[in-house]
Structures are given as C-alpha cells and as structure tokens.
C-alpha cells in the first residue's frame, strides 16, 4: 500500500483478513468471524434499505388524508413488510451479527468464535429465511401486520402468511446459533487475565442478549408453527369457534417479541459504554451497575410481555401485575443512562462522529424510555395504545436508540474493520441530519397518538394532516441522513486515510492489533493485566505483524 506519503502516517498491514484470499469461495465458505460479520453487514444493510423503501411509500401515502397513492391492501402489505423486514431481518441481527461477530472474539482476545462453522451456518440460515420472506414479498406480500394477530392471520387473511412465517422461523434458528456461539465463546475463550470483572461492557451486553436469543427464540418458532398449522389444517388452537383462544396467540407472540425488544436494544447499550469511555478518556462510571443492569434487563424482560395487551381482554388484575413489572424493568435502563452521563464528568471530551451518536442515543433513548412510562401507566395506555403514540415510542427506542448506537458503532469500529478513515466532517453532518430528521419524523407522532389517530390507518380524518405532513418531511431528511454514510463508507474503503491500529487511542484488546486485523486476530495471545477502560494508564504499543 502506498498511501503513506506524510511522514509518520500509518500503513496498511501487509497481511490481514481482507487480503487473505480474494476468491469468491474465500468469502462464501469462510469461517473467519470477521468475514462473516462483513457478509452479514452487506446483507442486513440491503434489508434495511428494503424496509426503508417501504417506509418511504408509507410516509408518501400519509401525506394526504385520503388513501389515494396505493390501495388499502397494498398499504397494509407495506406496513406489514416494513415491520417484518426491519424487526426480524435488520434490528434483531443488526449489532450482534455484524459488530458482535467481529468484536466478541477480538475483545476477549480469542482467535475466533467457539464454533466458526456454526457461525457460517447461522449466516446461511439467516439468508435462507430472508430469501424465503423476500419470496413472500415478491409473490404478493402479506398483510397481517408484523404481529400476525389471530384469527386475522389464521382464518381471514388470504396473503402469504405461511411463507412469511416460515421465513421468520428459519431466521430464528440463525439467532439461536449466534446466541449459543457467543455464550460459549464468552465462557470458554477469554484470554488469560480477562476475568468476568474485566470484560468490556459490550461483551456483557452481548452475553445478556445471547441469553434472550437462546431462551426466547424457540417460543416464537413454536408460535409461528402453530399459526401455520392452524392456517393449513384448522386445528382450532386460536379459533374461538373451535374452542381456541385468540389471546393465547398474543401471549405467546409477546412472550418472545417483548424480550426481542431487548435483543435489539441491549447490544446498542453495550456500544454506548465503549464509545462514551473512549471519547471521555475515562473508565466507565459504576462498571458493576452497568454490567448488572444488562443482566437485569434480560431477566425482567421476560416478565412484562402482557403490557402489550392491557386493552386486549386480559383480566384487570393481570394487567395490574404486568404494569408493575413494566415499571420495574425501566429502572435498569435509567441506571445506565445516569452512569453514561456521569462517565463524562471530569473527563476530557472530544466530539468525533461516534461521540455525536452517543449524544443522539442518550437523548432519544431517554425520550423513548420516558414515553414508555406513559404506556406502562394503565390508565394512559388505555387511551394511547394502538395509536401513533406507540408507533412514536418504539421508533424512539428502536431507531432513535438502537439505530443511533448502530451508526455510532459503525463509525467507531470502521477504521478497525477496513483499516481506513471516513471523512470526519461529512460524517458529523450526517449524524446531525439523522438526529434532526428523526425528531421531525417521530415527534409529531406522539401528538397524533394522543389526539387519537390509530396506527395502521391507510386513510385518516383531515384534522391529522398537518402533523402527518411534518412527519413525512422529517422522513425525507432522515432518508438523506442514512444515504450519506452509505456513500462515504464505500468511498472510504478505497480512498480513506489509512487509520492505523488505534486511531482513537482507545482501550480494549481489539485496538491492540493491526487494522484491519490479521486472520487470527492477534500475533500472539494477549495477556490482560488491567480493567476495562483503564484510560488512566498509557495505551499499549501494537506489535506489527
């Protein structure tokens, strides 16, 4: 590589995982966790833009009160497929399969995951599931909502419910494979000296996420199989005319899909802990509390599912129990937010792009979390559930929280992954555009929700138009914000400044090897002698490979 013209500029390492074979087979049949991570990255980005295209159509339709751009059936398919694509094929795999895959072994000083072949299998299982679902989309789509509520999905919808369910079922196995791989790797493959108390919080977050993946995903698998059987053979599990119970479906569905919310957000929380310490030059405030709160979220997350069902016909007393538990699960998240904020206290702060995403995350996640308190309050939930309030709330958590963390993570570890830097000022501009676009898109939806506009409405009463136009305008800004990084990341892979092993002067084993790392990550197994985020001590020198 001949980019090194300025005197001490770092050079690309001669031998790294990216130039370790160029053939198609060397990628498609690789068991290198870093290459698999990149294959995942390309694939989930594709599905993110598929889901995004559907969101674009939805926002265009909602510019006017009348349902005039697309038909009702098309609209219903659009929001269903938007939800399915974004939840199952982007948000759930997003951080774990890309950055998690790349970083979990590196952060604990391992050469690879415990089961490299299982890791490759998980990618192909995911791809099969995704293609199956894409087949359902192309051959006519599905219009039940991503929640598949019965008996609409089992007895009334005449779209491709079974194909979509099978696609999600298949993709679920990929989650389970990833979860098992992470759990075993974190238990068994830590470098000497990497005790549980020294684990980076990114690892703790992935450990908690993996537990949910392994314990929760089988439930959605069973539920989807029951939906398919009911639809195909009219077994009567959910059909009241045959003695079944439609609410049983909702219990089973949310028993997975609520913890799935934590599958989506926990890895993002791990990311924030890594970035905020690096750009504050400080150890994390209250390590034990941040680590333990991840585990608390994973456990409590399984006990709050029925808060999606307060008006669904569950008993008043059950609702009261689930409301109380929902308030309790909010506490660990609050603890995290306070600890991240306190980490900045007496730090030495710089405001590179990843740090801007941290600010975005903390702000939007706080808003999302606080509006969760509205929904957990039974008397308020009765009014705002099933409206745009809930749409706004979970987009603040999922897009404002999770996607912000994901973008922050991509910018933070991009130099490690590719060995090159992206254009910093453009990246800061994109972060700002995303933040502004996001708020303009989703804040009006809180107001719409309290006004009473139900979600999943193709046409709506005219008095809701102004707020909907604001939301659509915000969405177009948000769209530009997402396209920009796409462009400059691709540009940087060829033209970006060479980053060197540790451009942020960050702590953590992944920064103690070259960028991009060699295939086996470390020239020799690292030995850990200090706590995570020991920003008080000088950063280790990287031996050239």
């Amino acid at each position: 590589m001949s980019t090194a013209l300025i005197t001490p500029a770092p050079t690309m390492p001669r031998d790294n995982y990216l130039n370790h074979g160029y053939g198609v087979r060397s990628w498609l049949l690789t068991t290198d966790h870093k290459r698999i991570a990149l294959m995942y990255l390309v694939t989930i980005t594709f599905f993110f833009f598929v889901g995004g295209a559907m969101a674009t159509m939805i926002r265009l339709e909602l510019l006017t009160p009348a349902g005039d751009l697309v038909s009702s059936d098309t609209y219903n398919k659009l929001f269903t497929m938007h939800g399915v694509m974004m939840v199952f094929f982007f948000l759930i795999p997003s951080i774990p399969t890309t950055l998690g895959n790349f970083l979990v072994p590196m952060m604990i000083g391992a050469r690879d995951l415990a089961f490299p072949k299982l890791n490759l299998a998980s990618y192909y299982v995911y791809l099969t599931g995704a293609l199956f679902t894409m087949y359902a989309v192309i051959s006519g789509g599905v219009d039940t909502g991503w929640t598949f509520y019965t008996p609409l999905s089992t007895s009334f919808a005449n779209t491709h419910v079974i194909a979509t369910a099978v696609g999600i079922l298949i993709a679920g196995f990929s989650s389970i494979f990833t979860g098992i791989n992470f759990i075993v790797t974190i238990h068994r493959m830590r470098a000497p000296g990497m005790t549980w108390g020294r684990l980076p919080l990114f690892i703790w977050a992935h450990y908690a996420t993996s537990l949910i993946m392994v314990l929760g995903t089988p439930v959605i698998a069973i539920t989807l199989i029951m939906v398919a059987l009911e639809r195909g053979f009219h077994l009567g599990i959910f059909d009241p005319a045959r003695g079944g119970d439609p609410l049983l479906f909702q219990h089973l569905f949310w028993f997975y899909s609520h913890p799935a919310v934590y599958i989506m957000i926990l890895p993002g929380m791990g990311v924030i802990s890594e970035i905020v310490t690096c750009f504050s030059r400080k150890r994390i405030f209250g390590y034990n509390f941040v680590a333990f709160s991840s585990m608390a979220i994973a456990v409590f997350g399984f006990l709050v599912w029925a808060h999606h069902m307060f008006v669904a016909g569950i008993s008043t007393y059950a609702a009261m129990v689930f409301s109380l538990l929902s308030y309790l699960v909010a506490i660990p998240s609050a603890i995290k937010v306070f600890n991240w904020t306190a980490t900045m206290y007496k730090g030495s702060l710089t405001f590179k792009t990843p740090m801007l995403y941290v600010f975005g995350f903390i702000g939007l996640f706080t808003m999302g979390g606080m509006t969760g308190l509205f929904l957990a309050a039974l008397g308020i939930d009765m009014h705002v559930t099933e409206t745009y309030f809930i749409v706004a709330h979970f987009h603040y958590i999922m897009v404002g929280g999770m996607v912000m963390a994901y973008m922050g993570a991509l910018h933070f570890w991009w130099p490690k992954i590719t060995g090159r830097m992206y254009p910093e000022n453009l990246a800061r501009l994109a972060a700002l555009i995303i933040f502004v676009g996001f708020n303009l898109t989703f804040f009006p939806q809180f107001i719409l929700g309290y006004l009473g506009m139900p979600r999943r409405y193709h046409a709506y009463p005219p008095e809701f138009q102004v707020l909907n136009v604001m939301s659509s305008a915000g969405a177009s800004i948000l769209g530009i914000g997402y396209l920009l990084p796409m462009i400059y990341f691709m540009w940087s892979m060829r033209y970006g400044r060479v980053a060197g092993p540790n451009p942020w002067n960050a702590k953590g084993l992944e920064w103690e090897t070259t960028s991009p790392p060699p295939t086996h990550n470390f020239a020799e197994t690292p030995i850990v002698t200090e706590e995570a985020y020991a920003y008080g001590t000088p950063t280790a020198e990287v031996q050239r490979v």
Binding site: A334, S348, M382
Partner: protein, 341 residues
Amino acid sequence: MGTNFPLFPQQASTVAPKVDALYFFLIAVTVFFCVLIFSLLITFSLKFRARKGQVATQIEGSLPLELTWTIIPLIISLGLYVWGANLYFEMRRPPLGAMEIYGVPKQWMWKFEHPDGHREINELHVPVGRPVKMTMISQDVIHSFFVPAFRVKTDVLPGRYTTAWFEATTTGHYHLFCSQYCGTKHSAMIGEVYVMEPAQYEQWLSGSAGEGSLASSGEKLFQSMACNTCHRSDSGARGPNLVGLFGKPVKLANGATVMADEAYIRESILTPSAKIVAGFQPIMPTFQGQINEEGVLALIQYIKTMKDAQNLAPTNTQNPPGPDAGARPAQGMQNSGTQKP
C-alpha cells in the same frame, strides 16, 4: 370539529380529565428528566472538553449516587403505577345501573343494538350525563372500540364479551375508530358517536322503533328454537329454569359455582357441555352455527328480563336499570366465563 390543526383531543367524558391529569403529570416528569440529562450533557461537554494538558480524572463510581438514581426513579415509578392502576380500575368497572348497549362489529362496520331494539351502523347515539356500558363481541377478527374524546378503548374479540363504559359530558359528535388492525378496510371502520341531551335522545329513541325490543326478539328466538320445551318453570323440566337466573350464582354438577352473567349464558348456548348445572343431564345440543352473535345477545337480553313474577311474559324494557345490572357484582373483568374446563 374544531380547528384544522388540533394538538389536543376534546374532553367529552367523565374519565377524560382524569386521564389528561395523569398525562400532564407524566409530561412534567418527562420534561424534568430530559432537562436534567440534557443539561448535564451540555454542561459536561462545555466544562470537560479536551484541552491541552488537561487529563481526565478517573472515577470508579459512587454507591450513594447509584442508590440515588435507582431509588428516586423507583419511587416515582411506583407512584405512577398506583395512579395509573387506580384510573384503569375505574375505567374498567362500569358503575351500577349503567344503561347497556350492545356492539357486534365485523369486517368492516360497527353494529350497535339498544335494548329497545334500535339498531345502528357506524353511528352510536347516547345521552349526555348517563353512564353507558358497552358489551361487545366480534363476528370475525379482533376489532377495537376506541373513542378518543372519551379516552376509552377496548379490544372486541370473537368468542367472548368485552366491556367498556363511559359517561359523556358534552353533547356533540365524536370519532369512533377501530384501533385494532382488522384487515383490508381497517381504516374505513370508523363511525361517529352522537352525544345528545336526554330529551333529544328520548326523541331519537321514539322515532322508527324497529321490530320491537331486543328482549322481544330474544323471546321469539326462544320459542322458534324450541328452548322453551326444556327450559320451563315446572318441576319436570329437562332443563334448568331460567326465570330469575341472571346475576345469580349457579351450582354446577362438578360442585363449582359460577355467576350467571352474559359470558356464562353465551357459553351455555354454544357449548352446553362446558358447564352442567347440578341435577341435570348433559343432554342439551349445541347451537353453535345455528345462531349468530346478535341472536345470542337477544336471548341473553330476554333471559335478563325473565322475572319471578310473570313467567314468560314479554317485558317492554328499554334499559333495565337497577336490579338487573345491580344484582351482579359489577366486575371489571370479563374473562372468567370463557375458562374452558
């Protein structure tokens, strides 16, 4: 309806101001924590931004601080919980003596029946200042009865009754939305609730009387489906006597006791073998598929009107007030009747 750009919904029921009060309190809590966090972020950003020669101070943590930001949010959360739960309890518990209206939605329309036999579609007329209890059951998928101006919402399920209640405080007309996604024309499943002065409401009721009261259609069904051949008041009857049944406890063959409410009667018509009354044989055939939900509601209304005094005399009740609804403890929950053995 008001301006073209409302930011806050109308308040037109007794619970609406209570819901809004909690809503404003929640907004205050949210603003407080957002301002707290955001101002800390901004202050730290300004005060601790990297300068030449300045080094970060390493701080491990602080137990008192951790306890502070665990316990204070916990206390606030518990307070919110109690407030929200109390409100919900009130919203789910119809007051005694509420007038009853039945709703039978289906894809994609709302059908309502008043006890006097008035039927309306996508419109609901109610008097102001009087509690109204809605008992609803879906003919197909799950729908949801949502009147934003009343802050009331409940899913309407197939196969079981759910209830909602409200007391309108302001005359006018308000949106009625189906808020649970129910298929193609979900967004067209909307209607209007008309809140009228009591006198106007009486006038509306007296116009176009329909085909007699709901109870009288129930009575016709009772005879045409030959229910009366077994369910008689004499001692040799093969079925339990239904006179005075509604709202009373019933002793079952398995020793348990159930309350004779809407859900129990509906189940006994459609799945007679589910609960056998003590002293009777399980000989009743199912009427599943032979009678629709509106028919079941008419039968229930008829059974409600069967009093000890006159055996099978048709009573011309518009909206049975006191004893009928009152005899039964007003439970907010309605799921007990659907527990299958």
